[in-house]
């Protein structure tokens, strides 16, 4: 729209016509206070805090609902306006308990800030306060009624933002109150003979996040600490494949540092203000009583706690001996979906160079190899890479969702789709075998038979309305659930040559594991096992190794001498009989004594994603920095464990992790046998103005190597990454592994829901609490006579 010019506080400002005055001022550094205004949600004009004086308009106007106009003259601060705001605050404080010293929001409260600014310390209202006890609506959402200022942000957030509509406003006037969707008399939950209202929703906590005061508080954080007593670390959530940025509030405890709060405090990154239930609350697994904090070694049939030195040297020596006696091909390695890129890269390098085998795989939840291959060489569409990023879901004019259920499996994707539809009128097309919730935003919904996605892909070439509409879209992002892989996925990509694609995977670093080559048939960056420069540098076997299932087949016939499992629980996930591994030497690195760890010979307690540094790549290929927030004594990052294990096998660590130039530096001057062989890593570092890393345990040393060797990751900008920004990584456009006709599709969806997160679920008391809460809701609360303890 055309720009208009107007004056605010004597300053000339230009903004596009139609911009709200409040937003235009914000963009020019003029702050107008507002409680009810929330960017992206509908306008409410309920709080009257944003009133400004507009010339030639008789009364003060609300800046949150006034569009800017040519020649408008606005005053945002004057004694008159200050008095109006002060009067508003007096009314708001009329029944406010002013329990700031114990309120969760104390120090982060917009009402507190405004009261401080406008000084409504004296009040005309001397009536007694109308106290109400706080209510527990769900394990994670509590409501403190007297603190509420009725800005309706939570109501709109829940309805418009989340498309749940679980919150409403009941009663009238000064009795108005925010109410959840299960009224007391129907909840079946009571305390001290009084029925309690309950909240039946997705438990995302967005209402708490939007609340400008402390009226809605989080079950995991409330009354635990003060905002200024925590250390805040921006990192990436460890749960689903969307890779939301989150700020963890951490406080010191006896055995390290514990996380007390998760929220995206600065509203930055791909998720803006969004976090789901898991990102906001499910970090409690880190402090679960069953968390492993000591290495275990099987002695006379029983896992016994031992020292790190003993465990690592035993594991390293056995692994070295088995490699010598039975050959590298007898050893299998299973990687993780939740470890960092550096750890994944290091693990496959460990397999390929230290052990010398391609027997490496992980629990795949999406077929990224096919995606990379199908899009290789197809260039760009309308100047954009054909790999869609999470940000493209926010802005694309059209989205086609084939399979998957983002609401449950990738909540940020669902949020971005809803937001794009709501604010930008994006057209959403859905093809699914189930009537998923997102169909409420869809322009067209094509029902697909179970396992009928092949037929759907075929129908895209036909003349039906759905196919015609999709094919006519120019700016189309296609999101593919994990129902489609292999040939079906390839033909879907072939059917829509104009579209950008992304696969929805299930874990925080599913994409990273595939990109880093934790796969038996491709090297990092989906490069072929032979021919690529990387293969020459690794000098690794040129034939494909055993995939995850083949490893267990080999184990059952006694051909697998050792299995090294990092952060994965294949025995439970793939329903494998533990007896299969009876004659295999098993090393497991994990947080808990999982079903797989229980049969191991050596168990090494590992740090979780919140306790280490590195990078992760989400389903879309957006790479983000992971920073160490929490700490737990007795555990070590997987990175360190892999390096130490290699060391105990007698491997030269410099060839595994490029650290410390030292005496080995070779800047290309070498003569003799290795004439012409430069130390490529040192040359790369110098060319990119990077420092050599000094420790073999520094994940950034491996990040340097990743950047040097993996196409796509070579475009990484360090400053962007270190600033906490996301960068979209696209695999190489050519020279990738060609898919052999016999390649097995090993995609196994995790089938996680909003309230489960793989093996972590049962170690998160909060997730189990929320599951119980929601199941008692859907079971028809009338039957259940549940009485809460408090």
């Amino acid at each position: 729209m055309a720009d208009v010019t107007f004056t605010v506080d004597g300053k000339k400002i230009t903004a596009p016509a139609g911009t709200l005055l409040l937003e235009a001022c914000k963009a020019h550094g003029i702050e107008i206070p507002a409680f009810c205004y929330y960017p992206g949600l509908s306008l409410q004009a309920a709080c009257r805090m944003c009133v400004v004086r507009i010339e030639k308009v008789p009364k003060l106007q609300t800046a949150c609902t006034t569009p800017v106009a040519e020649g408008m003259v606005v005053i945002t601060e004057s004694p008159e306006i200050a008095q109006a705001r002060k009067a508003t605050l007096q009314l708001l404080l009329g029944n406010h308990p002013l329990d700031c010293p114990v309120c969760d929001a104390g120090g982060e409260c917009e009402l507190q800030d405004m009261t401080f600014k406008y000084g409504a310390a004296e009040s005309f209202y001397a009536e007694p306060k109308n106290h109400r006890e706080e209510q527990k609506w769900s394990p994670v959402v509590y409501f403190d009624r007297p603190r509420c200022i009725l800005c309706y942000r939570c109501v709109r957030m829940c309805g418009e933002g989340m498309d749940i509509f679980a919150l409403g406003v009941q009663n009238r006037g000064s009795s108005s109150v925010i109410a959840p969707n299960v009224p007391p008399q129907l909840s079946g939950v009571s305390s001290h003979g009084e029925d309690l209202a309950q909240l039946d929703c997705e438990q995302c906590g967005m209402c708490i996040d939007a609340c400008p005061v402390g009226a809605l508080t989080s079950g995991t954080y409330r009354y635990k600490t003060r905002p200024w007593e925590m250390n805040h670390t921006a990192t990436v959530c460890t749960h689903c494949g969307d890779g939301c940025k989150t700020t963890l509030g951490v406080r010191p405890v006896a055995d390290g540092a514990e996380i007390v709060r998760g929220d995206n405090r600065d509203k930055s990154g791909i998720n803006g203000d969004f976090l789901c239930n898991k990102g906001r609350y499910a970090f409690d697994f880190a402090n679960h009583a069953e968390r492993l904090t000591q290495p275990l070694v099987r002695k006379s049939g029983k896992l016994t706690p031992v020292s790190w030195e003993e465990a690592l040297s035993y594991a390293g020596t056995r692994l070295r001996d088995l490699r010598q006696d039975r050959g590298p091909e007898s050893i299998g390695i299973i990687g993780s979906n939740r470890t960092t890129n550096e750890e994944n890269y290091l693990l496959q390098k460990f397999a390929r160079t230290v052990i010398g085998t391609n027997n490496i795989d992980h629990h795949r939840t999406a077929d990224f190899v096919t995606l990379a291959n199908a899009l290789a060489g197809t260039g760009t569409t309308y100047g954009k890479s054909r790999f869609a990023s999470q940000r493209s879901v926010q802005t694309a004019q059209a989205i086609l969702l084939v399979g998957g259920d983002p609401t449950n499996q990738a909540p940020l994707t669902a949020w971005n789709i809803r937001t794009n539809v709501r604010l930008n009128k994006a057209r959403l097309y859905i093809a699914n075998h189930e009537a998923i919730k997102l169909r409420r935003q869809a322009k067209a919904f094509a029902p697909v038979a179970s396992f009928g996605y092949g037929a759907f892909v075929q129908s895209l070439g036909e003349g039906n309305d759905f196919a015609k509409a999709v094919r006519a879209e120019e700016d189309l992002v296609v999101l593919v659930g994990n129902e489609l892989h292999g040939g079906e996925l390839a033909s879907l990509i072939a059917a829509l040559p104009q579209a950008r694609f992304a696969l929805l995977s299930d874990y925080v670093n599913s994409r990273g594991a595939a990109d880093m080559g934790v796969l038996p048939d491709v090297l990092p960056g989906y490069q072929p096992l032979s021919g690529a420069a990387l293969a020459a540098e690794y000098n690794s076997p040129a034939t494909a190794g055993l995939d995850l299932l083949a490893m267990f087949d080999a184990a059952s016939t006694g051909k697998l001498s050792a299995l090294y499992v990092v952060g994965s629980n294949p025995i439970r996930r793939y329903g494998i009989d533990p007896a299969t591994l009876a004659s295999t030497f098993v090393i497991v690195q994990d947080l808990f004594l999982t079903e797989t760890a229980a049969v191991a010979d050596v168990v090494l307690p590992a740090a979780n994603l919140y306790e280490k540094a590195g990078t992760v790549t989400n389903s879309y290929g957006d790479l983000q920095l992971v920073s160490k927030a929490a700490d737990k004594s007795g555990v070590r990052p997987d990175f360190e464990l892999i390096v130490r294990l290699a060391g105990h096998m007698g491997h030269d660590l410099h060839s595994l992790v490029p650290f410390s130039r030292g005496l080995r530096a070779d800047m290309g001057q070498t003569r003799g046998a290795s004439s012409g062989e430069a130390d490529r890593h040192a040359v790369f570092l110098t060319a990119n103005k990077l420092e050599p890393k000094l420790s073999p345990f520094d994940p950034f040393a491996i990040l340097d190597e990743i950047q040097r060797l993996i196409p796509g990751y070579d475009k990484l900008l360090r400053l962007q990454m270190l600033s906490g920004n996301d960068q979209h990584i696209t695999p190489a456009s050519s020279g990738l592994t060609q898919i052999a006709g016999t390649r097995k599709d090993l995609v196994l969806p995790s089938s996680d829901t909003l309230f489960t997160s793989g093996s972590l679920t049962r170690y998160s008391p909060m997730l189990e609490d929320v599951q119980r809460h929601q199941s008692s809701r859907s079971a028809g609360a009338s039957a259940g006579q549940m009485t809460s303890a408090d």
Binding site: F165, A166, L167, G168, V169, Q170, N171, R172, A179, P180, N181, P183, Q185, L186
Partner: protein
Amino acid sequence: MATITQSIFTPATAARFDKLATIYPVKRSALVPMLLYAQDEVGYVSDAVVTEIAQRLDLLELDVRNVLSYYSMLRTKPAGKYNVQVCTNISCMLRGGFELLDHCKNKLGIDHKETTPDGLFSLEEVECIGACCWAPAVQVNYDFHDELTPEKLDAVLDTYRARESK
């Protein structure tokens, strides 16, 4: 509209609701009239009423409860058979509305929004019922009784009681 197979309302009311849902540009506009008719039939707005009306208008039950709780003339608990509504707005107040209210409280032994143990009477203090010319006025269900004194009110209440004992 969601088809209602097992309506809790009488066929006449159900038919009326079917029509109501079609005559407004926006379907939810039928909410308040529906709630009022439902209250007249059932005696109060029960949870079952909320459920069926939400279904009929494609609303969430929460939406219905939000509106329901806004209006003081809609009730969620059963009232007495005869709901005595005493006006205490300005005209009635000046002409003895509060005396009438106090009299009712004493006579019936109940307070505002309460019901007698036999379920016959309930008492409500209400805002203007539009009978200012004949203040003070009392409305019992849909019947008006005006220019009242405590004695006249006794007679009124007695007629209702007598009606019941027949």
